[in-house]
Amino acid sequence: METNKLSKANEALIQEYLDIVEHDSENLERIMRLFADDILFELEPTGDVYRGKPAMQAFVDVAMSGRTHSGQYTLQITNWFTDGDQLCIEYTHGGILTGVYTAGIKARFEQGVARYCITYHMCAGKFDRMHEFIQGTTFLANLAMPFMLKRIKRLADKKLAGTGRAD
């Protein structure tokens, strides 16, 4: 297997991303700076694909509006590693749902209930490909997940169409 070198740009990207995830996860502007214009984002379950920065921004915007964090309801990175070009991050996500994509239902889910594994490809200090795997440890969370993600996709598509930048 070929060894890649971690460039300064990609190292800075990882540092910035880890800081956002743990300390500033509702900062849309800051997180959007990390993506390449031609970002390709694939989301599991559902396999929905978001192509390009406008689609990505619409997704992140909707996703962020649907949950907040405070106290024990935060993100916690459990593992990460990189080979220089690719990055893998595992984390758990506790949050408070605002009802935006949960049919108005406001609920809290603790850290450990939702588990994430995301693989990234990095190029010149930007993410140009992401594949996100979301899992629940409760039956209800797993049952609700595809519905929530489809709702997010619908809202994101609507938002994107509203800006006249649908792809």
Binding site: M1, T3, L6, E11, I14, Q15, L18, E44, P45, T46, G47, N79, W80, F81, T82, D83, G84, D85, Q86, C88, E90, G112, R115, C117, T119, H131, F133, I134, Q135, G136, T137, F139, N142, L143, M145, P146, K150
Partner: protein
């Protein structure tokens, strides 16, 4: 920033695992040889954990008997693999055909196939002394129905595993 960028994980383990996955994925003994005795295997969805080679052997044995592969649309296709330090990650798509080898215990006698591309896996491994001592398996589906059925299937698989272990059946 903690440096998670050092030497690569054991290349021999990765090469053996990739060959196993793509060409010999029903070979339980070969799979178990790659794991440490105290290996921990975490399955998602559900977060079920199997601790130690005996538990993993029981669980993997049942899972492997439930499905088969062919060289057509029911095969394992590796999408990406990278490693660093003691960690490595493999993404793959898992096509399969179900079997009734476990008396239909989990599939209730139903047989069917899932084409490559629908079931998507992300496996995160940790190695120690040339063997895998931790596996975190994330299974997702691009199919609406499979997404809903997956947690049920996983829970049932776990139940059968626990029952077999209680009866002292390792595999």
């Amino acid at each position: 920033m903690q440096k998670n960028f050092e030497i690569q994980a054991d290349e021999a383990v990765i090469e053996e695992l990739l060959d196993l996955m793509t060409n010999d994925s029903e070979n339980l003994e070969r799979t178990l040889k790659l794991l440490t005795d105290d290996c921990v295997w975490v399955m998602e969805p559900s977060g079920t954990e199997y601790h130690g080679i005996a538990q993993i052997k029981t669980f993997a044995g049942i899972a492997m008997k439930l499905r088969g592969h062919d060289e057509g649309e029911h095969r394992i296709e590796i999408l990406s693999c990278f490693s660093t330090g003691d960690n490595f990650c493999i993404e793959y798509s898992h096509g399969m055909v179900s079997t009734d080898a476990v008396t239909g215990a989990i599939t209730s006698g139903l047989k069917g196939g899932i084409p490559t591309g629908i079931l998507r896996y992300c496996m995160v491994y940790h190695t120690r002394d040339g063997k895998i001592d931790r596996v975190h398996e994330y299974i997702n589906s691009s199919s609406w129905w499979l997404s809903l059925l997956l947690p049920i299937g996983m829970a049932y698989l776990h139940r059968v595993t626990i029952k077999r272990m209680a009866k002292g059946i390792v595999n």
